[in-house]
């Protein structure tokens, strides 16, 4: 009897600190599956964000460093420019990339840096207690918008893929989701393409992953994935933007 599905080699056999039903665990694993498939583990450098995934380096079994809040694309730029033979990828959340790190992501994309960014969008600040993020939906309740996000006071949800897709430096921008197994497989394909683009030297690639955060959505794991599949994809349509 053959094993047809097991733990990828480049993920450590360690329990994560993520809440039950959190999408981060799935995205971590998918990245490791791609790394194993492409055989790039020995020359890979990952950059962990500030946010729930801040200790991602405890789970990935390859070189990972840590950047200040939102500065992942800047650190990735530095590493890639000084070590151009390495594969460099950044892992960021919506508070990290969409709020404090907006300048870094836009300019790294606009410069067409040959890096890969995996952007996990779960519409809230998970680590700090479920506050409103730039990607929070209108009417969505969070710790800082107890009666729901209002456009008049808080603005519109930030669509990062659409925003970056108009920049000439961007080689690839796709939005995927991990709310069901079929979409996890599509997410894997997208992440693989983003890494392949870097290997080919095509330029900046970003994959936005819609991910459930059951704890701060105030839903059960099952309802959270349903919410991602039904509500979140309406505001953030899946697909290739560039």
């Amino acid at each position: 009897m053959d094993k047809i599905f097991e733990k990828p080699e480049s993920i450590r056999d360690k329990e994560t600190h993520y809440c039950p039903g959190c999408g981060h665990g799935i995205v971590h694993r998918v990245i490791c599956e791609v790394v194993d498939d492409l055989g790039i583990r020995e020359k890979l450098i990952g950059i962990a964000p500030v946010g729930c995934a801040v200790i991602a380096y405890d789970y990935w079994d390859f070189d990972v460093t840590e950047a200040a809040h939102g500065r992942v694309p800047a650190v990735a730029t530095g590493i890639k420019r000084s070590l151009p033979d390495r594969i460099v990828f950044g892992y960021q959340g919506d508070g990290d990339l969409g709020a404090i790190g907006t300048a870094e992501i836009i300019h790294a994309a606009n410069r067409g840096e040959n890096i890969t960014i995996i952007f996990v969008n779960n519409t809230v600040y998970g680590m700090t207690g479920g506050q409103m993020a730039p990607t929070t939906l209108i009417k969505q309740k969070t710790a800082t918008t107890p009666s729901g996000r209002e456009q008049k006071t808080h603005g519109f949800p930030l669509k990062v893929c659409e925003l970056l897709s108009v920049l000439p430096g961007v080689a690839y921008a796709e939005r995927v989701s991990v709310h069901n197994p079929q979409n996890v497989l599509k997410a894997k394909k997208a992440i693989k393409k983003a890494f392949e683009n870097q290997i080919k030297g095509l330029g900046f690639s970003i994959v936005e992953v819609l991910s459930p955060c059951p704890t701060y959505l105030g839903l059960s794991s099952k309802d959270a994935v349903k919410w991602v599949g039904e509500e979140l994809v309406k505001e953030y349509p899946l697909g290739v933007f560039r």
Partner: protein, 67 residues
């Protein structure tokens, strides 16, 4: 015959595998594990088709699939 193996101590009991198992082979246990979660367990051994949906959606790498 395809089969799955679940690590009950790693499982956080999110139940996503139960939601996506096409054949209803998995259910949430009534007994707590050391973590204080209700892990999932296999109820229908013969029903498994080896589709791996449970393992693909598992955020905590608790499931290994054999075929």
């Amino acid at each position: 015959m395809p089969k799955i193996k679940i690590d009950p101590e790693k499982c956080k009991g999110c139940g996503l595998c139960v939601l996506y198992c096409q054949k209803g082979c998995i259910k949430q246990s009534k007994l707590l594990n050391k973590k204080g979660a209700y892990p999932v367990e296999i109820i229908e051994k013969d029903g498994c088709t080896g589709c791996s949906f449970c393992a693909i959606i598992c955020p905590d790498l608790c499931i290994t699939v054999y075929k």
